[in-house]
């Protein structure tokens, strides 16, 4: 594998040493990169494609990153570069997928939910059911909108990093996020059980 090109901001990137180690053939360094970033990649993948396919997206993300690491120039932090691959992999997975049977899920029977047990506190159970319904609603958003909303409103990433990840100007990111939020509000308003807010229109 090619030696690490001198990254412009390698000093400020906490992953620079591990990236250099991986490029030098040290799989232990790559292992540490996976351990360090697996959680955030998994969260983003699960929110975009759903939990069932998240593991596949995570694996694809890290393997792509591994094989393309010699193309990483360090112009942005390694994490942003990795999340760009993750976001693209998740969006590709969404495009490959057939439409999800969202409408078939009823409010009383959230998908994949365990049956309530006598020991489960009611509020905890309600939260879990609301969360599962919300995840399904989230997946009704257009994929590009979903990705930006996940990166900003769930992961709390700064706009600059989201612009890096999506390869879009910051103004486009903000516009897309605004549309994504409005779209999700409209989707959720259709479910008055969850929304519980008087219609403002």
């Amino acid at each position: 594998m090619a030696p690490l090109a001198q990254p412009r901001e390698a000093v400020s990137d906490p992953d620079a040493d591990l990236v250099a180690g991986t490029l030098a053939g040290d799989l232990g360094a790559f292992d540490q990169l996976v351990e360090r970033h697996q959680a955030v990649v998994h969260r983003i993948a699960a929110r975009i494609v759903g939990r069932d396919e998240a593991d596949d997206v995570v694996q694809e993300t890290f393997l792509r990153a591994y094989h393309r690491l010699d193309r990483f120039r360090g112009e942005s932090p390694f994490r942003s570069w990795l999340l760009q691959i993750a976001s693209n992999s998740a969006l590709n997975a969404v495009r490959r997928k057939r439409p999800e049977p969202v409408a078939a899920v009823t409010e009383g029977e959230p998908y994949g939910a365990e049956r309530p047990t006598a020991r489960t506190p009611v509020s905890e159970l309600e939260d879990r059911e609301r969360r599962e319904r919300l995840e399904l609603k989230l997946r009704e958003l257009r994929a590009e909108h979903r990705a930006v909303l996940v990166l900003r409103d769930l992961e709390g990433l700064p706009y600059e990093e989201i612009a890096d990840i999506t390869g879009s100007p910051m103004g486009s990111v903000k516009g897309r996020l605004h549309r994504a939020r409005n779209e999700l509000i409209e989707i959720m308003r259709a479910n008055t059980y969850d929304w519980e807010l008087p219609d403002e229109r």
């Binding site: 799989l27 790559f30 292992d31 996976v34 351990e35 697996q38 959680a39 998994h42 969260r43 699960a46 929110r47 939990r51 998240a54 593991d55 995570v58 694996q59 890290f62 393997l63 591994y66 094989h67 939260d127 609301r130 969360r131 919300l134 995840e135 989230l138 409103d153 769930l154 709390g156 706009y159 903000k174 605004h178 939020r181 999700l184 509000i185 959720m188 308003r189 969850d194 929304w195 519980e196 807010l197 403002e200």
Partner: protein, 78 residues
Amino acid sequence: MSADGSPPPSPAHHRLDEHLELLRVEQPPADRSLAPRIVRTARWQRALRAPVQVAASVVGAVIDALSGLIGAGRRGPR
């Protein structure tokens, strides 16, 4: 949701944020065996990479040579 110079969030946006908070506090569980599996796959893919590249180069060279011979044959002695 609006520390970015955009207009102040509407009540609907506030409500949406409350809903999203449910997702923020809950982390989808990651498979603990995934990281070792990724590293194992990277290891064997790396091991295969060099031989595959060599094989591809050899096949490419053979095709080039055959194309050259066939071309030369067609142009052959008149």
